[in-house]
């Protein structure tokens, strides 16, 4: 347990290494308890998915009009979460914001893990998941390419590029730290773990040439990752807006989704920072100023999101097109209304005053959790609100997620927590070399 957090400058170099490596070399009962709980939820979710594959998608709450529902909501939600980490880190790196140093890795890891989970829902939602590889463009026996006109294929391409880019971008700045673990942990770790670190450190010696190459590679990845991130959520929004469905077919969906994604992503980063700060006793490294600054960023995106939401709904309300109005009224006063107004409360009414008045770690945590709930609802309202009210009024039908869907959703959250926990267990969650670099400046 660290005492009252000392200031950044007074932390000695060996103390920093020791503090940040502690979670890697020491395994407490809390770790095993967390793994067991998360593992149970994941196992249950896996069972549910298996059950769905064997029985068919009928075990969900889907129906003739709501062919999509919670799985697609979760897909957009998780891909959205993935947007803050890499983007924040890249923008802050490029602009040379030095307060970013202790939080970049924690943020980038969110991107990678959320991006592993989001597309999983695309698989889960498939009617015949065992044939998912048919969307991969490779010369096959049938001599048939996938349909490059399909937004789903753009999605597939974009998300895979972003995932590869994010993994590279997460990995590059980790190399010196992995080497540090390799050197410092020594015999305190099992041989197989030492072997992994040796492998991943790729012979890092810390020579000036290696540092120069690394800095260069990181700068290049920063610039590559930013347009990738923007393109990914734009394309995710196009899955909806390329159709002619009421309140899906909207020109602002691209930027609206990107803003929403970064909004929910920053909230996810704040929640993760709060949790690891408490769990791993990193109060000296992840400081109130980080919550304060990220909180300011969250305000910005809160206002942007509010503006987009207002613009989106005002234009639909004003022109009174029949099918669009039906969906809009479904949101404002119809079956979607409770969720819609909860969304407005969670995305604007709670976080905005809270963030303006109280950007303490706990204040931002509450605001962030509220934003996450609100943004999940936003995606749900977009997906389900339109599908339950298609143009043909005769077939209108409601939709409620089934227990299978809810279990798999719970599983996805457990899986995310599990991956994040394992990452913090195997690698320093706060970048050691970048932190020390910040101290030197």
């Amino acid at each position: 347990m660290s005492a009252a957090a000392p200031s950044v400058e007074t932390l000695s170099s060996s103390r920093v290494t020791e503090d940040l490596l502690r979670p890697i070399v020491e395994t407490t009962w809390r770790f095993w308890a967390a793994i067991s709980v998360l593992g149970t939820i994941m196992a249950w979710a896996m069972f549910c998915w298996g059950y769905q594959i064997v029985e068919g998608l009928g075990v969900t709450g889907y129906n003739r009009t709501s062919m999509w529902g919670s799985y697609e909501t979760n897909f957009v939600f998780w891909v959205g979460i993935s947007h803050a980490g890499t983007l924040i880190s890249a923008i802050l790196r490029v602009t040379g914001a030095s307060w970013r140093r202790p939080i970049t890795r924690a943020a980038e890891a969110i991107t990678v893990f959320a991006l592993m989970i989001g597309p999983m829902f695309v698989m889960i939602h498939l009617g015949r998941v065992w044939l998912f590889y048919w969307v991969i463009p490779f010369p096959n026996l049938r001599d048939l390419w996938p349909n490059f006109r399909s937004p789903l294929l753009w999605d597939f391409t974009c998300i895979n590029s972003y995932l590869l880019g994010s993994i590279t971008y997460l990995y590059l700045p980790m190399i010196p730290d992995i080497a540090a673990v390799r050197d410092a942990a020594g015999t305190r770790l099992a041989p197989w773990r030492r072997w992994i670190y040796r492998l991943l450190a790729m012979g890092w010696e810390g020579t000036p040439r290696q540092w120069a190459l690394l800095e260069r590679a990181i700068s290049i990845m920063c610039v590559i990752i930013m347009p990738l991130a923007v393109s990914v959520h734009t394309v995710v929004s196009w899955v909806f807006s390329m159709t002619m469905n009421p309140m899906w077919h909207s020109t602002i969906f691209g930027p609206y989704f990107v803003v929403g994604a970064i909004f929910s992503g920053i909230a996810a980063v704040l929640v993760a920072l709060f949790v690891i700060r408490k769990l791993l006793n990193l109060e000296a490294y992840i400081r109130p100023e980080h919550f304060d600054k990220l909180g300011l960023l969250l305000i910005t995106f809160c206002l942007l999101w509010g503006y987009f939401t207002f613009a989106e709904h005002l234009t639909v309300w004003y022109n009174k097109e029949v099918s669009e109005t039906a969906v809009l009224l479904g949101r404002l006063s119809g079956p979607m209304a409770p969720l819609f107004w909860t969304m407005i409360t969670c995305c604007l009414l709670i976080p905005l005053p809270l963030l303006i008045l109280k950007r303490t770690p706990f204040g931002t945590l509450v605001a962030s959790l509220s934003v996450l709930v609100g943004m999940w609802l936003e995606r749900y309202i977009i997906v389900v609100g339109t599908l339950t009210r298609p143009r043909m009024q005769f077939v209108w039908h409601s939709y409620t997620p089934s227990w299978v869907e809810l279990s798999i959703m719970a599983g996805s959250f457990a899986y995310f927590a599990f991956l994040y926990l394992m990452f913090a267990k195997f690698f320093p969650i706060v970048s050691i070399w970048e932190f020390k670099e910040g101290q030197r400046q």
Binding site: L126, G127, V129, N147, T243, R391
Partner: protein, 232 residues
């Protein structure tokens, strides 16, 4: 060759014979009362019923809705695996064994005419003996929809080819057209200006469902005429 259909709403009395015939012809499963309640009924053609006016002056309107076989079909470009595409006879066809079940086509369709196989459906004996051997049974996880009874179109084509002639107008009749007691439906080649379907499609009563969307449907409806004999 551009297959199309004309449905005279003035003749349709909503008897649903077309729905039953379609089910028998195309091996469409019944999903049972529970799933029906969940909104999962499978049918390639449905009779939509709308009421006009207030009681006691109520009038029911019936409209059979099936796949419109749009020339510019919104369902086609969105499929990542070409499970649904436009064939050379203007049919919007569904290749079952290519479908991986993204259901994107069903969402993109403004007419909501596509059905999804939520489960593997079975026919209890002796109903399994009445399955049509010319139509594939679909397994769970794929999308299906009206094909304009493509098996009948193909058979007529083969027969005509054997006899070295073109398919005659009226030779192909999808199950719904054949079974309509009011003869409200006509099927044929829209490209042949002399065919019955082409002639009727030029009627002053003709309209297309949500024509403003630009999907260019090949199902053409004829407006009902009220009892006073004037068009409504």
């Amino acid at each position: 060759m551009r297959w199309g259909m004309v449905i005279d709403l003035d003749r349709c009395n909503g008897c649903e014979a077309c729905v039953v015939a379609c089910r028998a012809e195309n091996n469409i499963p019944t999903v049972g009362p529970e799933d029906c309640e969940k909104g999962r009924m499978m049918s390639w053609i449905r009779i939509e019923r709308y009421f006009e006016g207030e009681f006691p002056n109520v009038k029911a309107r019936f409209m059979p809705v099936l796949c419109q076989h749009c020339e510019k079909a919104p369902c086609e470009p969105v499929c990542p695996v070409y499970a649904t595409y436009h064939n050379h006879e203007g049919l919007n066809v569904q290749v079952y064994n290519r479908c991986i079940g993204t259901r994107f086509c069903a969402n993109a369709c403004p007419y909501t005419v596509r059905s999804f196989n939520w489960f593997d459906y079975h026919w209890d004996a002796p109903l399994d003996r009445q399955l049509n051997p010319e139509v594939t049974q679909r397994s769970r996880g794929m999308v299906e929809k009206c094909t304009f009874c493509v098996q009948r179109i193909k058979n007529a084509g083969i027969e005509a080819k054997d006899e070295k002639r073109a398919v005659k107008d009226g030779e192909v009749q999808p199950a719904c057209v054949q079974s309509c007691p009011a003869e409200a439906m006509v099927f044929g080649d829209l490209d042949d200006p002399t065919s019955r379907v082409a002639r009727q499609s030029r009627s002053g009563r003709a309209f297309k469902l949500m024509d403003d969307l630009g999907t260019e449907p090949k199902v053409i409806y004829l407006k009902p005429v009220d009892w006073k004999g004037t068009e409504e």
